[in-house]
């Protein structure tokens, strides 16, 4: 599958109008999975509206990309962070989730491949410890837009908002293991740029 994520910063007075416009534009792309939702409180650098589209192939996205980009050229959209990437979500247990979360991050250039692999392995281990993650995917970015040259998108479907702000944040696999890659005080740090942490409501079992 081929995924497209766009995090839109939108002038407050225009959000409802732009939301409707982007939803309409997303429908026109004929993506197999579409999510265009206001972000929830607690998102950081995550935009006001989260757009996530999943296509069968990169070519299918490319055939729709220009028209969708035109929709996003609305003058009320002040800034866009985004990425496109390949991959297939992995379900974690039988339950479905109601919150979709996307983390855009940039691994520092010149980080050696073994270190990147260890970082990716640790991110991928998190769902084993945190059942509130009902589905997930870690993708390497092909095309990035916005503040940083994003290298990875780590996305999850959570049981609910508490699963994200509670279990995910509070489990030791997060703060005592994975977080060191993001901590400028740790010598292992490889993610130095500010990340995009964005989440919104989703329909049950969105990441399939």
């Amino acid at each position: 599958m081929y995924s497209v994520t766009r995090l839109l910063d939108i002038a407050e007075e225009d959000r409802e109008r732009v939301l409707a416009s982007v939803r309409s534009g997303a429908e026109t792309t004929q993506a197999q999975h579409r999510l265009v939702e206001p972000t929830l409180p607690g998102s950081r650098n995550g935009g006001d509206v989260l757009v996530h589209l999943r296509f069968d192939s990169r070519n299918q996205w490319l055939s729709a990309a220009d028209d969708f980009a035109a929709v996003l050229r609305d003058t009320a959209i002040a800034h866009i962070n985004g990425a496109t990437y390949c991959g297939t979500p992995i379900r974690n247990g039988d339950g479905a989730g109601t919150v979709y979360r996307s983390l855009l991050l940039r691994v520092a250039p010149n980080t050696d491949a073994d270190t990147v692999a260890r970082f990716e392995d640790e991110l991928c281990s998190m769902p084993r410890y945190i059942p509130a993650i009902r589905a997930w995917q870690l993708g390497r970015v092909e095309d990035a837009i916005g503040t940083s040259r994003w290298t990875h998108v780590f996305e999850q479907e959570f049981s609910d908002a508490e699963g994200l702000t509670g279990a995910y944040l509070m489990h030791p696999i997060h703060w005592a293991v994975v977080d060191r890659w993001f901590d400028p005080e740790c010598p292992d740090v490889i993610v130095r740029d500010r990340v995009c942490h964005s989440f919104c409501h989703c329909e049950n079992a969105f990441l399939t």
Binding site: Y129, I130, G166, A167, L169, M170, H171, P172, W175, A176, D179, R180, F182, D183, P184, E185, C186, P187, V189, R192
Partner: protein, 115 residues
């Protein structure tokens, strides 16, 4: 039982003859900011316990925070401040290698993982 306290442990191998200078600078420059972010200094251990111009020392500094939430709040206060990372770079001349780890009491592990 430690009520879910979180320990932050800096382990620093100093260059020969640099341990005392490192500890002095750490306590004078780093510790005040760490305290303002909610960290409480437990102890500063020196191994071997002697100041020598010929030996490398391992300095182990442990801090505590009262909870995981307090640990996150500490990081949220410190992470946007570029001066923190720069401070660690600046004292690099005194240091051969270092690590930072996060720990909890063994009695707390099951509870911490049950979230």
């Amino acid at each position: 039982m430690t009520d879910g306290r979180v320990f932050v442990i800096d382990r620093v191998v100093t260059k020969p003859g640099c341990a005392r200078a490192f500890v002095d600078i750490y306590l004078a420059e780093y510790a005040p900011g760490a305290r303002s972010r909610g960290m409480r200094l437990c102890e500063v251990l020196i191994s071997p316990p002697l100041w020598s111009d010929d030996l490398a020392n391992t300095v182990t500094i442990s801090w505590t925070l009262p909870s995981v939430q307090a640990w996150w709040e500490m990081t949220w206060k410190g992470r946007p401040d570029p001066a923190l990372g720069e401070w660690w770079s600046r004292i690099g001349d005194l240091v051969t290698e270092r690590s930072r780890s996060v720990a909890a009491a063994a009695d707390d592990v099951d509870r911490l993982c049950d979230v």
